[in-house]
Amino acid sequence: MMQNRLSFHQSSVSLEIIGLPDYSNNENNDQISIISQWKLTIADKPLIEGKIEHLGPIIDAFYIYSNLLINNEMPLYESKLIDIKPENLYIHNIVLKSSKRDVKPLTIKIGNSLLADTINCFDQLNESSKIIMKKQVVFNNVPIKAKFKLINKLKFYNLFLPPLISICSLVLFSTPFIYFYNPFVNEEKKEFINPE
């Protein structure tokens, strides 16, 4: 059976998806929902290809990294399959780790322009009506290191917790020393001052 091929291009990057439609779901002949292979071609860089189970994590890695890059000071994405970290403001190092033994990780350096091209290719893939992929919730797949940074970003606790603790401790320590007004004691004192 002939497989369908769909390509997405953005300047120096192209993404090719190869697969078949799911006829049991009455899909059209030109659709792809059973992806057998994908290829990511970045100009002047080695070809990146793999199976369907690798495509989702790689797309997520790029999206999460780009979000961290724009929102954080020091972005870093690490997982079993792919690491992305910045070399400087302009260059990013991508380390692709093979699941096979004895295969060394592949390191690719890309600039901001190629990063933008790659993410725009993934955007085209996500928006394409011809490819039906199980959309993964990006934030469920955030690796531990990235999650930690996201938690750090929650400044809500940093802002409200210290004054709350200080108020509570002040109340706790001052309660034993609280002075209650006793009118009888006051009366006695007045009598002592003015014996008449």
């Binding site: 300047s11 780009s66 890059l69 724009i70 929102n71 403001l89 302009y90 260059i91 600039g111 901001n112 322009s113 990063l115 933008a116 091209d117 993410i119 725009n120 955007d123 085209q124 996500n126 928006e127």
Partner: protein, 137 residues
């Protein structure tokens, strides 16, 4: 462009856009008009449409800075023009504007701004840019 994006009700003419621009507190002509949510959305839609149109230029500007061996002429031209515009239109006594004008430290701001625009050219670019803007520290 506002015609094409069906924004005629919010942005009927250029003067409306000019007035909205003056909501920027960094501008010399800053007037606090309290921008409305639909005006905010309309400006984001225009920014996304413009970045889609200008993507090849944005990409070249980013690329020209990537190779340190090459003399980044495009980057230098862009930065020069950016600083000229800031000097001309922004309140240069403001500390944040001074930061934008700082030649040694403004690279990061410029790169992140260009990268943000270049990532928002898809059909869902409007939502992306809005999220980026609302998440800015």
């Amino acid at each position: 462009m506002s015609n094409r994006l069906n924004l005629n009700d919010v942005l009927p003419n250029k003067v409306t856009i000019w007035k909205l621009r003056n909501n920027n507190p960094l501008r010399k002509s800053f007037i606090n008009n309290n921008i409305k949510p639909d005006e905010f959305d309309a400006l984001i839609k225009i920014a996304v449409e413009l970045s889609r149109y200008l993507y090849p230029y944005i990409r070249e500007i980013l690329r020209s800075k990537e190779d340190p061996k090459n003399n980044s002429v495009i980057w230098n031209d862009f930065k020069k023009r950016f600083i000229e515009l800031i000097n001309e239109r922004f309140n240069i006594n403001n500390i944040r504007v001074k930061k934008l004008l700082n030649q040694t430290r403004n690279d990061e701001i410029l790169i992140k701004s260009m990268l943000t625009l270049s990532l928002c050219i898809s059909n869902e670019g409007y939502q992306k840019l809005k999220n980026f803007l609302l998440n800015i520290k």
